[in-house]
């Protein structure tokens, strides 16, 4: 009997570290639950098991093996999803500049040819310039990306991640922002093909294309090539004997796999242009950017095209020459852009938010709050960060709301999300619990006083004169 006791003791010792790391079930009890598809529970419980939502309701019986979190004073939202970005890809620079930045000499020049061996000259569309249609975000993501912490502390659990080089940037994937291994992070792929227009940086003798019309004609040509490729393959497959085979084209294979195309459109004429271009290509497509969409709400609604709104609201450039008078149109855009989400919501347009290079938690929060302050109801803001993104990318059966059977991605706040004083208390990704640091959310190192920068001091002096 002594031995049994000792064995039991040893057994429980051996098991306890395992138990403390991986709870088999977690219940967040009696919290305010925002389900995401419209309904709300003022006092509800969410039960998670095996990375999925097992149960959600006002009276959920909590099993004995579940760890319980007291949800009093907490609000549970579906985990926020970034509708377009590079989170998860380590070393990816900021996502491609929005469409506005590609009009005219964009800072995003085509890939620099600084290698010692001169790259072969691009003679035209047949050389497939800047084409990465077959690159997959799912192949590039890794839990080692050092931005994941910041993303989680902003309440994001998931991201529609796309590679970001070139004109055809590659196949995106829905990525959970945590995982033991890269493969664990992938929720669904491919979810789309992103296109960015690379304008400027070229010119005579340099790589095609350098102009906006060159970019557009290239996209058009690639789709024509895809059409012909498909026909050639079909013809060959039905009659292989005695006919030469079509040449394998990895870029066209990648393009063929794309379930939808993401087209850039920031200014009103770009929105017009991309709406008709997408229709011309006869592919399902989505617009991204949309800062001047306040001039085109009806057109987007009529076209029934999903819209991804950039959270990088246009602002007065920091190093602006004080003697310069900005363009009237730019002034209007800076004032009106944050009102776009509210207008789209009112018109019933399917829209979502994307980070567009905004990466710190306080900045993300501020950016979303700006849209809410400009007229977007909070519930719509939440939807634009959750269920709508899932719907746009065809994964609403498993993401985007707190419903039985969906992936256990939750964002839990104290206070209403995006309120200045609110904080993110927990984030659940695939049922795994995270505690985002308060420092990351406020942007200040722990325990430091605030220290104004040099320019701040100068401005203060000015106003005190």
């Amino acid at each position: 009997m002594h031995c049994k006791l000792i064995l039991a003791a040893v057994a429980s010792f051996a098991l306890s570290p395992l138990l403390s790391e991986v709870p088999s079930a977690i219940a967040i009890k009696d919290a305010h639950v925002v389900i995401g598809s419209g309904a709300e529970l003022p006092k509800g419980t969410v039960l998670l098991r095996n990375g999925l939502i097992q149960e959600v309701g006002p009276n959920v019986s909590i099993p004995a093996d579940a760890w319980v979190i007291d949800g009093a004073g907490l609000t549970i939202y579906p985990g926020f999803i970034d509708a377009l970005g590079t989170w998860g890809i380590p070393g990816a620079s900021a996502p491609p500049g929005g469409a506005a930045r590609t009009a005219g000499a964009g800072p995003q020049a085509p890939l620099p040819q600084t290698t010692s061996t001169p790259a072969p000259r691009i003679r035209g569309p047949e050389d497939r310039p800047q084409t990465y249609t077959n690159e997959r975000a799912a192949d590039l993501v890794s839990p080692t990306d050092n931005r994941l912490d910041a993303a989680r502390s902003a309440g994001f659990t998931t991201s529609a991640t796309f590679p970001n080089k070139g004109i055809f940037e590659g196949l995106g994937a829905m990525i959970d922002l945590a995982g033991e291994r890269s493969g664990n992070m992938v929720v669904a792929q491919p979810i789309g093909q992103q296109v960015a227009f690379r304008v400027g940086g070229g010119g005579m003798g340099r790589a095609f294309p350098s102009s906006l019309m060159g970019n557009i004609s290239y996209v058009r040509q690639l789709y024509l090539d895809l059409d012909q490729y498909k026909k050639a393959k079909e013809a060959y497959d039905s009659h292989t004997g005695g006919t030469p085979r079509p040449e394998y084209d990895r870029y066209l294979e990648g393009l063929a796999e794309s379930p939808r195309l993401l087209l850039p459109a920031d200014q009103s004429q770009q929105i017009d242009r991309m709406l008709s271009f997408g229709a011309e290509l006869k592919v399902p497509f989505v617009l991204y950017g949309l800062h001047e969409a306040y001039r085109r709400v009806n057109q987007i609604k009529t076209a029934n095209v999903p819209a991804l709104v950039s959270l990088k609201w246009p602002e007065k450039p920091k190093d602006a020459d004080p003697a310069d008078t900005p363009n009237y149109r730019d002034l209007v855009m800076r004032e009106q852009a944050p009102a776009v989400p509210g207008l789209l919501a009112k018109a019933g347009v399917k829209f979502a938010f994307y980070s567009d290079g905004v990466e710190s938690a306080p900045d993300l929060k501020k950016a979303i709050k700006k849209a809410i302050d400009a007229g977007l109801p909070r519930a719509e803001a939440i939807r634009a960060l959750t269920l709508t993104v899932a719907e746009i990318y065809g994964v609403a059966d498993r993401l985007g709301s707190i419903e039985k059977g969906k992936i256990a991605n939750l964002t839990i706040t104290k206070g209403e999300a995006f309120d200045e004083k609110s904080t993110i208390e927990y984030v659940f990704i695939d049922g795994k619990q995270f505690r985002p640091s308060k420092e990351m959310q406020t942007g200040l190192p722990a325990g430091s006083r605030t220290r104004p920068t040099l320019s701040d001091t100068a401005e203060i002096k000015e106003s005190n004169r």
């Binding site: 691009i122 306040y294 401005e459």
Partner: protein, 452 residues
């Protein structure tokens, strides 16, 4: 936000129709029809966007809006055969010598303020062209300056599409190894051609490719009619427009200067089997006017702008008049956001240099470019049945002292000088308001050092 929009003129508001269905009577002006003489104390009736009547006494329908034009001059809307206004994202696809796959129609920017300023100078139609970096440039588009409409609504419906060619210094600049001011790039970036003979070869070769392409598609179509099921050839956006040129469905507008290259192009076109619709700039056209007339090409040139490069040296302001007298259809163009605002004054110069008549001078910027662009059935003169594209000047348009007061396109008023002046203070106030708001926000931000 509503308040903002109400302050802006019809610039940012979208109207449903491009045709003004209202009836308009412009009364008691000196009407310079260009093709049917001048009507003193004349009136023009506009209905459904078209000119319904022109004459000394025109019956006025009861519901007509009447514009009293006593003492003023009415002429057809001005047409510019060479423009790079309203292009977004680059005028040239200069990375390849034959960029016929690109299309200006894809990149029209209706918000370019130069459209409005050109309107204020009486311009109503522009032939918007690809730049002159390439021997064969991109496809081109004719637009009406319908300020406030979308890019799609600015396209001149029914105008034959075009393509830009360029000869001479511009397309060969990148091919030269020298590192002078004009040549660009390192030896690796040198782009063929570097000589005029190379420019010719690019054109010849592209059309040889186009003929092959045309033959392949014909073979494919023949096979399918015979009941076979061949795989179609690859659709090549570069060669499609060249085939259209061969089949006469697309106009060639060729930038050129020197007489030898003009002759070269006319001969290449004749040999290959297509026509040059217009020669652009064509500053040495006066030397080969007979040959240009024999080919049937039009010429669109500057009134008096030359010597800005070697190939533009041997020019003369008599160029337009000499070519015209030799039977060439001549127009004057701007190729400039600034010059396009006073093409009426450029036209006047042909009276001083060449002795053209008033009508011939006005024709240089109205009916002649309309003919060159194949839209003379719709615009270019004040004639019954044509679109009501009209400009009202306070003095004779060929006078230095004149300025446009009102501009109509399809009977719709797109510019009114008085209204423009009236609206400026409100615009300025609105802009100042936005600026002040922004600066206030900036100061507020700086005064709060926390980042929350």
């Amino acid at each position: 936000m509503k308040r903002l929009f109400s302050l802006l003129p019809a610039t940012l508001a979208l109207a449903a129709s491009l045709i003004n269905a209202e009836t308009l009577l412009i009364r008691n002006a000196t009407v310079l029809t260009v093709t049917k003489g001048t009507v003193e104390n004349g009136s023009v009736l506009v209905e459904n966007g078209r000119i319904a009547a022109v004459g000394k006494s025109v019956s006025v329908p009861p519901d007509a809006t009447v514009v009293d034009a006593t003492g003023k001059f009415l002429m057809p809307g001005i047409i510019d055969c060479h423009s790079h206004t309203a292009i977004e994202g680059g005028v040239n696809e200069g990375t390849v010598s034959d960029s016929s796959m690109v299309n200006i129609k894809d990149v029209i920017d209706p918000n370019d303020i130069n459209i409005y300023r050109a309107l204020a100078g009486g311009l109503t139609v522009s032939n918007v062209l690809h730049g002159s970096a390439n021997a064969i440039g991109g496809q081109t588009t004719v637009i009406k300056l319908r300020w406030g409409k979308t890019a799609q609504d600015m396209i001149f419906e029914g105008a034959t599409p075009g393509i830009k060619f360029a000869l001479g210094e511009n397309p060969k600049r990148q091919g030269q190894p020298s590192q002078n001011f004009f040549s660009q790039g390192t030896p690796q970036e040198r782009r063929y051609p570097g000589t005029r003979m190379g420019v010719e070869e690019v054109i010849r070769e592209s059309f040889a490719d186009a003929k092959n392409y045309q033959a392949n598609w014909k073979e494919y179509k023949d096979k399918t009619t015979r009941g076979e099921h061949p795989v179609p050839p690859r659709k090549d956006l570069r060669l499609e427009p060249l085939v259209e040129v061969l089949e006469g469905r697309r106009y060639v507008h060729a930038h050129c200067y020197r007489s030898d290259e003009i002759l070269m192009l006319l001969r290449v076109a004749d040999e290959t089997g297509f026509k040059i619709r217009t020669l652009q700039h064509v500053l040495e056209g006066y030397k080969v006017a007979k040959e240009i007339a024999a080919h049937g090409a039009g010429a669109s040139t500057f009134s008096d702008w030359w010597s800005y490069k070697i190939e533009a040296y041997d020019a003369t302001p008599y160029n337009a008049a000499i070519m015209a007298r030799k039977g060439v259809l001549v127009s004057l163009n701007s190729d400039s956001d600034e010059l396009q605002r006073h093409l009426n004054l450029e036209a006047a110069k042909t009276m001083r240099y060449g002795g053209l008549s008033e009508t011939e001078a006005l024709a240089m910027v109205t009916i002649n470019p309309a003919k060159q662009l194949g839209v003379d059935d719709k615009v270019g003169s004040v004639e019954v049945g044509k679109s009501a594209d009209l400009v009202l000047f306070d003095k004779h348009p060929l006078s230095n002292a004149s300025k446009p007061l009102k501009v109509w396109i399809d009977g719709h008023e797109y510019f009114d000088r008085d209204k423009d002046l009236e609206i400026r203070p409100k615009f300025q106030a609105d802009k100042k308001n936005l600026l002040d708001k922004e600066n206030a926000k900036g100061k507020e931000k700086a005064a709060r050092p926390t980042s929350l």
